[in-house]
Amino acid sequence: MHDLARKPPVTALDNDAVSREFSAWIARKARLRHINVAIAILILIGLGLIPLISQGTYAYARYGVALAYVMAAVGLNLAIGFTGELVLGHAVVMAAGAYAAGMLSAHAGVSFPFAVLGGIAGGLAAGAAVMLPGLRVRGWYLALITMFAVLVLPRVVVLTEHWTGGEFGLTGIQPPSFLGYLLSDWVLYEVTLLLLALVGLLVANLVRSGWGYRLRAVRDIGTASAAIGLRPNRIRFTVYLLAAGPAALAGALQAFTDAFVNADSFGISLTLLLLTGVMLGGAGTLWGPIVGMAPLIALSFWVGPFSVYNAVALGAGLLISAIVVPDGFVPLIRRWVSRRTPSSAVADSMPVAPVGDSGSGNPSIRTRREFGPEILKARGVMKTFGGVRALQGIDMSIRQGELVGLIGPNGSGKSTFLNVLSGFIAPDAGDIRYRDADVTGWRVDELALAGIGRTFQVPQLIDELTSLENIEIGLVGHENSDLISAVLRLPRDIARERRRRTAALEIFRAMRFAPETLGRPIAELSLGFKRIVEIGRAAVSKPTILLLDEPAAGLNEKERQDLGDRLQELAAQGITILVVEHNVPFVLRICDSLMLLENGQVTCRADLDEALPERLETYLRHDPTPTTQKVES
């Protein structure tokens, strides 16, 4: 802490430290990736050699089906782990894939590759139908309604027995052939293995791309992710399809592996197998589904697939994993390994707050700037909650480039007004003009993309990502969301990643974060740090206006000082800032002008370099909020 504080403020040296830290972080990630690829290749070779030691149609069928289960779990992990959507209908997706592929082959004589493609299409359609309620309901509601679909499946199969074979199962599936060659059992097994590897690779690419940020944003930030220009429901629906893909493919392959499809194979027990596998291994990690499925599959090989002991083990496994290892085994192993290898990259005692610029009273910043035209105007904005009239006709305007403090007693409607301005709450009456457009009723993400950024009282960040990555997320909503280049990791996607990183690094330097924090998961850092990272995330997309909701709440003196400096620097760059704040000394120090909100109306507005109106003076004098022990509202 001390030698950092002694360093001269922003110098080339600091930037070098950031670059060094950045390169080291990139190198660490690359090394980890190489290790992962090496492990994956070893596992692939090991599994690929199985036909040398164990043969027979029955054995291949069991191994092939086991691979299919892992593939489906990889898909499920995209929804449950990376996006936090508790969908339990993947057994139906697999069944739809299996029946669609099987029926195409058995009834229409469609060749193996096209039948598999048809199976994927069928599985995707089923997945979309089963998971659709997820756009409206969350949590256990979603879990139950998707689990319900698993119980419905056998009835639908019986009702359509003319095509599906009903209770007797679907038979007559042609042996798989490709370009005229019949694929023998072991070839089909190897094909399944290769496809599993391919699915794994595509998923790894996906979660590494901007889409990886989108998914995690929906999981950790939820509806607030609209404030960075994302559309959570659109992302959710895309994820349902993405998550259904591997399961649909797995089902189609299983149909050919077994040469038979029966609804019994796709019941609640399969749902639980997949769910337990993902949770046990580690939801939201790439290796999780593989690590979690392995022991469960081994058990079912040992006691037999129809043994009731499977269910005992699955249930107990899920219960124990939820209680004992809620994050799953992969994070556990990762922590264990990193504890054993002494970490040279990150010192233990590191400042969690950004290194402050010693010139905090920087006169060049404090000088009065010329403000531009009024760019954000509210007229007669009203909002009533039940019987409470939160906003009672707010009229106000903000000039381009100014740093406005919005102050007022608790319950005066400050946060509500901020939510109206950023689109989270629709006003009952009145209108809001931004630049020259009437933006009343615009969606949050539209406003965000138009240049109105905001932060939250409780920082909405993605815990597992680093500070730099969290800043990067601010740009994802502004990019083209094309999936193809993301899963294939095309040059286009790499270029996007590079652009994001460059911009985020620029912000990282401009906001003078301590270099050591660059590669650290944000969860390990302090509240004050998170606040500034969130502001950095909003600033990285170069917004016109920033709306900040109580950024100084809960910060200590030093952190508050840093925060104020950063805000003034942003304002000096021409970003207009509206900050809702309780702390009077803080707003007096940093703001150009103040607005007083009382009982849902702006009662006072004044520039701070002029004489303050009586009413504002009185409020500022009497505001009882102490500077150090503010209670967060």
Binding site: L132, A143, M147, R155, A316, L319, A322
Partner: protein, 302 residues
């Protein structure tokens, strides 16, 4: 003739509805008091059906003693659910709702499988508690078992409703839900309230199993599905409202009672699924749904 079939379907439906309402109320009680959606609730219904057979037929207890035993053991099962799957999770995870969902699913599945090991996987018939000779109302033969289920179901629902609405127990529940810390300041031990909710819900689910046993037989697996019907009733009626549970239960019960009588029985579940999905997509709060439970203003993670 067909009118008779439909009326018989309606009676069956109302009997099933009583069961679904009891299950729906069990879910609601636990959720209201603790914020847990107990996926293992269906397991307690299953235990109720098996106890009806074991205590009533194998041990030969009188019906009322069986009923009392089922209530007691159901309540104990409820408390055990809390101790095994909920209590250890408290304060240990980022998302309590998420973790308890997984732990109660796990507990339910493991318990079902263990029941299947002990009891056998086949379903075994349970003789009716009242005379099996149909009562003729006009030309319609009514089975007394169904009437018993309807009467007991309505009685229990009304009792719970009155207790929650009118007595201090209800106030304690409401306060615990609205403001757990405030409740503690008032000297309410919220842990006891939560345990009580699990116990009452367990007792109710046990009774639901006991009542339905003569209709669907005792089995380690069948009763699981009843929990899904109970959920469907809640989803349609709207969560957290007694009126919603009653109306939703009636709709689901009548659908499941009448559809098999007039169409292919296999159609029932798919139709019900489509109805529930339609409700969730169009009106996620259901017919009578309120944001909070028991009129509270606190919105649980729903």
């Amino acid at each position: 003739m067909s009118a008779t079939i439909i009326i018989l379907g309606l009676i069956t439906g109302l009997a099933l509805a009583s069961i679904y309402v009891l299950i729906a109320i069990s879910f609601t009680l636990v959720l209201a008091a603790s914020g847990v959606f107990n996926f293992a609730q269906g397991t307690i219904v299953m235990i109720g059906t098996i106890l009806a057979l074991v205590l009533g037929v194998q041990f030969g207890w009188p019906v009322l003693a069986v009923a009392a035993g089922v209530v007691l053991l159901g309540a104990i099962a409820g408390v055990l659910t809390h101790l095994i799957a909920v209590w250890p999770v408290i304060g240990r995870t980022k998302s309590f709702a998420h973790s308890t969902m997984l732990s109660t699913i796990g507990l339910g599945i493991a318990a079902n499988a263990i029941a299947a090991l002990l009891f056998g996987a086949d379903s075994q018939p349970v003789p009716p508690y009242v005379s099996d000779s149909p009562l003729l109302i006009g030309s319609i033969p009514l089975r007394p078992t169904y009437l018993l289920v309807i009467v007991v179901g309505i009685f229990l629902t009304m009792t719970i409703e009155i207790v929650i609405r009118k007595t201090v127990v209800g106030s304690v529940f409401r306060i615990t839900l609205e403001d757990p810390e405030g409740a503690q300041l008032l000297g309410i031990d919220t842990r006891i309230v939560i345990l009580l909710a699990f116990a009452i819900a367990g007792g109710l689910s046990g009774v639901a199993g006991f009542l339905v046993a003569p209709i669907i037989s005792a089995s380690a697996f069948t009763a699981q599905e009843l929990a899904i019907y109970g959920f469907a009733a809640m989803a349609i009626g709207g969560f957290g409202s007694f009126a919603g549970a009653l109306v939703g239960g009636a709709i689901v019960g009548i659908l499941t009672g009448v559809l098999p009588a007039i169409a292919n029985p296999q159609v029932t579940l798919p139709v019900l699924w489509i109805v529930v999905v339609a409700f969730l997509v169009v009106k996620p709060s259901g017919l009578y749904g309120t944001a909070g439970l028991f009129g509270s203003t606190n919105l649980r993670e729903v």
